[in-house]
Subunit: 205 residues, 2 copies
DNA sequence: ACAGTTATTCTACGAGCGTTGAATACGGTT
DNA sequence: AACCGTATTCAACGCTCGTAGAATAACTGT
């Protein structure tokens, strides 16, 4: 891939877009190991570059992580899109199939996995990601749900989606990881719809 | 070898049972930060003890982690218990309410969270935990499901359970984290039952 | 040819990590 | 009191990490 003569110093000839190479390497690295597990040195090695160069471009590890998050599709926008142009009764299926369609494409998968791996950690980054999930994605949902207790309905949906994503992409549970997306959409769709529009048992059950 | 049975001569047990204090501190520490994030030094500090003492008792960080996992309820046994003495149609509700009942008790919660946080990581520990989940819990389920494709049904259930646990205990999504367990059981129960006994859409959907 | 800018590397610091082996405090036995 | 074994600590090792600053190499405009 990258041919770097070990003894050579200074700027590499041809000047490829090193910054982007670093960003992609970082994306893979964060996806594989989460924020805490990934290392600047590992990213640099994967990009065939000196660790200092990574920080020269991105300033700090946290900023590098945030930079990788700009790559993927905006999830809140996706939620809004699905909710707006699908009719009730098929929303769940549309949501799942859209999501799986987007993230089965390897180009966008690794930032997703990076996020999933990072929410398990702690510290400012994990908190940031958690707040993003809570205030951006969940809120986008709750805002568009008609029935009572939209907040609860939104997190119910969230819990099933999280379980699916973690099982399929992080833990890679079989046969969940290799089942056809359309079929999963047909399976999970009714669950989502029930959470979104079905009746909820009262509190004193 | 390390944790030899208490001898009869020499200095008798530490003022309180120090070894157990360390174990509990470790349990909290692993729960809070996952395997990679937790540190021997942190555990030692929390237990008011020297780091070397921790390793003197438990040998290595990995063995310490494994030792903390022996504390909680055996999940596979719990699954079998629920499946055996509940009748179809209420299995989902029983499963969820049993699980939440066990893990809402603070005594057993932190090992669970430690496991959940650790599967997100990588390396031998994460793999071990993943295999444990796959071969022990999921298999216990699949073995007792009657319909076709029990393996798929088991992971579908697993995905919803994972989502609930991560949302409630790790991310602490509101209002999921504070909703009454009985109500959650009533909500999630039918979903579980549908995955377990309902019809599954064919593959060519 | 020369100066300027940018890309890249080198070297190093200080901190935190898991782990180790030797040293010390203490309780029980004789 | 002497002794032994356990409990606990101390001090250090080798490692990896994020980060900083100075140094070098290549390209660009003059």
């Amino acid at each position: 891939m990258w041919t770097v003569a070990r003894g050579r110093k200074g700027r590499r000839p041809g000047s490829p877009d090193t910054q982007d190479e670093i960003l992609q390497a970082a994306s893979r690295e964060f996806a594989a190991k989460g924020y805490d597990g990934a290392t600047i040195r590992g990213v640099a090695a994967a990009a065939g570059v000196d660790p200092a160069l990574v920080l020269h471009y991105f300033g700090t590890k946290e900023q590098l992580f945030i930079a990788t998050l700009h790559v993927p599709v905006n999830p809140a926008a996706m939620v809004r899109g699905v909710l707006d142009d699908a009719q009730p009764g098929e929303i769940g299926e549309r949501l799942i199939s859209t999501m799986l369609g987007v993230w089965d494409a390897t180009a966008h998968r690794s930032p997703l996995v990076a996020v999933l791996r990072s929410v398990a950690g702690e510290g400012p980054v994990a908190d940031t990601v958690r707040q993003f999930i809570e205030h951006s994605i969940i809120a986008a949902f709750a805002q568009r749900l008609p029935g009572p207790e939209p907040q609860l309905r939104a997190v119910l949906i969230g819990s099933q989606v999280i379980g699916l994503l973690v099982g399929r992409y992080v833990v890679r549970l079989e046969p969940l990881a290799s089942t056809d997306p359309a079929r999963l959409a047909a399976i999970y769709g009714p669950t989502i719809d029930r959470y979104a529009y079905g009746s909820l048992p009262p509190d004193g059950a």
